[in-house]
């Protein structure tokens, strides 16, 4: 029996015992919000109702609950807004008045956290399991890893993860003061504080928090004074044993124009990479999101979307939304795989058609060498490496055959190409700098 039927049954019994007036006044907007290990949490609309139920009806309610369900030990009353029934039909009053461009933000102004981001909606897969484990660890035992540093491409759930940690700590440790901010806003606030001559106030404000979360730290590059401020804040919090969490799109080592002393501090804690999505995780994410939207997603459609959408979770979400919307239009019959294919035709990024020339151009531009030298027979050191990288990229990213690559790059033997690819592959395992170089070249193409 789910909690709704349970409570409905009890309400029916209570309704018989009390007057109609009493029932509508005290019981109408109540519901069971959760049941956990024998304690029933009853949601009531306000404190008046809480007091009244506690003082007058506690025994009755507890008795009814015990009769209907075994193992009920206690009832807790908590205040929650009534369950939204049907939205009231709102007729706009005609007015010629323009509206103020007010935006209601969905975040809590005290800590900047968006309550939407929780672990319930967070999908753990091989790509982020380490990050997940680390955040679980600091939730159990704060400052287990301090600072905690997540990095990874956009749209892989860094913000979700960090905010979920914040929300979780907020829920379970009421006394902890948490603050989430993006580095961009931190910078703006710092600038404002300097302008208004209130730097001390700014310092004070941030030093009182127990958990400090800063998102997208890469935007701090070139902002020396803000970096310095963050550096002092960092030291203060670190010494005070306060948890600090950062995120960025790159490993701190590769962050451009960031002070070394900051980098070295980031390195002191735990640095975790959130890697690109694998297909299984994509499917899991799709299923979770579909469930959140009360949509029954066929496994084959999920698999298809996962296989065609590359890149971020946001893109996955977008595609899924399109599918859901389309199938709602269709009504009962639902949506078929073919229709999904049709639908995703435009929203998925096609594999870029690329000529060998483009790759060569990018590589030579990156290493600042003549394009021609890649095609030439020369074996000068500064050319050999870029040439090998070119071969590797052509093979790995664009799946061109070894002989074809060899032929295009100055009529080389296919074994030369194979050797080069193998060499680069091996070097990648030991040389993180090379990964970074290749990623930068890829972004140039």
């Amino acid at each position: 029996m789910d909690s709704k039927t349970l409570w409905d049954n009890i309400l029916v019994q209570i309704e018989l015992d009390v007057s109609k007036a009493t029932y509508t006044a005290w019981f109408k907007d109540t519901y069971i919000s959760k049941i956990d290990s024998g304690t029933v949490h009853l949601a009531v609309p306000n404190t008046f109702v809480r007091e009244w139920l506690q003082n007058k009806f506690h025994k009755t309610i507890l008795q009814f609950l015990r009769d209907s369900m075994e193992g009920v030990r206690a009832v807790e009353y908590l205040i929650a807004p009534p369950n939204k029934k049907k939205e009231d039909f709102v007729t706009e009053i005609p007015t010629q008045n323009k509206e103020l461009p007010l935006n209601v933000y969905n975040i809590n102004p005290d800590d900047n956290l968006n309550p939407r981001y929780t672990f319930e909606t967070f999908v753990v897969g091989p790509f982020n399991e380490l990050a997940y484990a680390a955040s679980q660890a600091i939730m159990k035992k704060p400052v287990a890893y301090n600072p905690l540093f997540f990095y990874g491409n956009t749209g892989l759930g860094k913000t979700h993860l960090m905010q979920a940690v914040g929300n979780h700590i907020k829920q379970h440790h009421k006394d902890k003061r948490i603050f989430y901010i993006t580095s961009e806003r931190y910078t703006t606030e710092y600038i404002n504080a300097v302008q208004a001559n209130r730097v001390n106030h700014f310092k004070e404000k941030y030093r009182k928090y127990d958990v400090f979360i800063m998102d997208d730290i890469q935007f701090l590059s070139n902002k020396e004074k803000t970096q310095e401020e963050l550096f002092h804040l960092f030291n203060h919090m670190y010494d005070g044993n306060k948890q600090i969490i950062f995120s960025s799109d790159q490993h701190p080592n590769y962050l451009q124009n960031l002070e070394d002393r900051l980098k070295s501090r980031f390195m002191a804690g735990m640095i975790i990479d959130i890697s690109p999505l694998d297909t299984e995780s994509k499917i899991a994410i799709l299923q979770t999101k579909a469930k959140m939207n009360n949509f029954n997603l066929e496994p084959e459609i999920a698999y298809y979307i996962a296989s065609v959408v590359h890149g971020s979770i946001r893109e996955l979400e977008g595609t899924l939304n399109a599918v859901i919307c389309q199938s709602q239009l269709k009504g009962k019959s639902g949506i078929s795989l073919n229709e999904v294919k049709q639908l995703t035709k435009d929203s998925t990024k096609p594999q870029k058609n690329i000529s060998v020339k483009d790759v060569v151009k990018a590589v030579s531009a990156f290493y600042n060498i003549e394009e021609d030298s890649i095609y030439n027979k020369t074996r000068r050191q500064e050319v050999v490496r870029p040439r090998q990288l070119t071969m590797y990229i052509l093979r790995e990213d664009y799946n061109i055959s070894f002989p074809a690559i060899g032929q295009k790059l100055g009529n080389r033997d296919h074994t030369t190409v194979m050797h080069s690819c193998e060499k680069v592959k091996n070097e990648l395992k030991t040389n993180p700098e090379l990964i970074n170089e290749i990623n930068q070249i890829r972004s140039l193409i």
Binding site: F48, D88, N97, L102, N106
Partner: protein, 368 residues
């Protein structure tokens, strides 16, 4: 229960408390005020399940007891008693008898058992602050009329109060205009913010207006309470987020006009006679001729145009407003003159009293 007290004393208390009783309710006991005589004191209590209020009077208690009396009847009876008379209230078989040396009234009561208790905010765990009643009321009165009437967006049909360093900021908006008032106080706790439903704000104003005392305010997650020596009041607060209003307050202006407040009020009164159903009033500002004209036109009744003496700087402008919105804020402005900061057509107008930076009013123009 049996008590004896002076008419003025009990009338004052019942007047304050009776207004809170619920007029139209499924639960009849909410129409009542609860009288509780105990320890030489009479506690008068009422609630509509949204706010609760309690007033304590020192009276002569001959016999302790509790009764729930229909509030409007009790109030009518007491206010008819001639002044300077002692009033006796005695419980008798579930009814109460109100008598003086010359009159005797019996009022039917409801079972006191059914009367809801008024929640107390835990004083140890809640955030507390102290504020003068005058300051609290002036803060609320300066902004509360700007809240939305409808319940579509609960956060807009409430007044938001939040601390900012050593100041308490009151703000309310209905999406068309916005009022902000800053009150300087001391020792503010960092309570984030509270949203008090505007319905309850009017009760708070009514209860504490005219008092010259300090109020202890307690804030917890779901409620806010106000406490003086003899009054306790509690209101529900809303959880929700208030719009990020700071971002929309214009930093500069294209036309600035200073009016004498009284001139403007008189002129608006004149113009309201001919306004249309949308309460249109047109501002015609011409720095060249150094004139500001207010114009209204009603196709059925006629039209009017009035020139107001003013000091103008900036660009020429024709702009329409809802005169009600402008009139609303003028009644809460204390200074003699006000400055209108216009920002060009279609852009919000900022109104500030001259030489008083604590109040700010923002209003959007009309489309026509």
């Amino acid at each position: 229960m049996k008590i004896e007290t002076l008419k003025d004393k009990i009338l004052f208390a019942v007047q304050k408390v009776e207004k809170v009783t619920s007029k139209n309710t499924t639960l009849p006991v909410l129409k009542c005020v609860l009288l509780e005589a105990k320890d030489k004191r009479l506690v008068i209590r009422s609630t509509n399940l949204d706010v609760g209020v309690e007033v304590v009077l020192n009276v002569k208690v001959e016999k302790e007891g509790v009764v729930a009396v229909p509030g409007n009847i009790l109030l009518s009876v007491i206010s008819q008693i001639p002044n300077d008379k002692s009033v006796f209230i005695e419980e008798d078989n579930g009814n109460i008898v109100v008598f003086t040396s010359t009159s005797k009234t019996i009022i039917k009561c409801l079972p006191a058992d059914d009367f809801p208790s008024i929640p107390k905010v835990d004083e140890d765990t809640s955030k507390t602050l102290k504020i003068g009643a005058t300051e609290l009321v002036s803060g609320l009165k300066a902004v509360w009329y700007s809240s939305a009437n409808s319940n579509i967006k609960p956060e807009l049909s409430s007044v938001r109060i939040y601390p900012q360093e050593d100041k308490l900021v009151f703000v309310a908006t209905d999406g068309f205009r916005l009022a902000e008032k800053v009150i300087t106080t001391k020792n503010l706790p960092d309570f984030g913010h509270v949203l008090i439903p505007v319905k309850n704000v009017s009760e708070i104003i009514r209860i504490f207006e005219g008092l010259d005392q300090d109020i202890d305010v307690f804030i917890d997650e779901n409620q806010i309470s106000f406490k003086t020596d003899d009054i306790y009041m509690v209101s529900r607060t809303l959880t929700g987020n208030f719009p990020d209003y700071k971002a929309i307050i214009p930093k500069s202006s294209s036309t600035e006009v200073v009016f004498l407040k009284q001139d403007l009020v008189n002129c608006l009164k004149m113009n309201t006679i001919f306004s249309d159903s949308f309460f249109h009033v047109k501002f015609n500002i011409s720095p060249k001729d150094n004139s500001v004209k207010l114009m209204t036109k009603n196709n059925d009744l006629g039209e009017s145009s009035t020139e107001i003496p003013s000091a103008i700087s900036g660009d020429e402008l024709d702009i329409n407003f809802n005169y009600k919105y402008i009139n609303d804020c003028l009644s809460t402005v204390n200074s003699d003159s006000v400055t209108f900061y216009f920002n060009g057509p279609g852009k919000p107008l900022v109104i500030k009293p001259v030489s008083d930076s604590s109040f700010l009013y923002l209003v959007m123009p009309m489309n026509k």
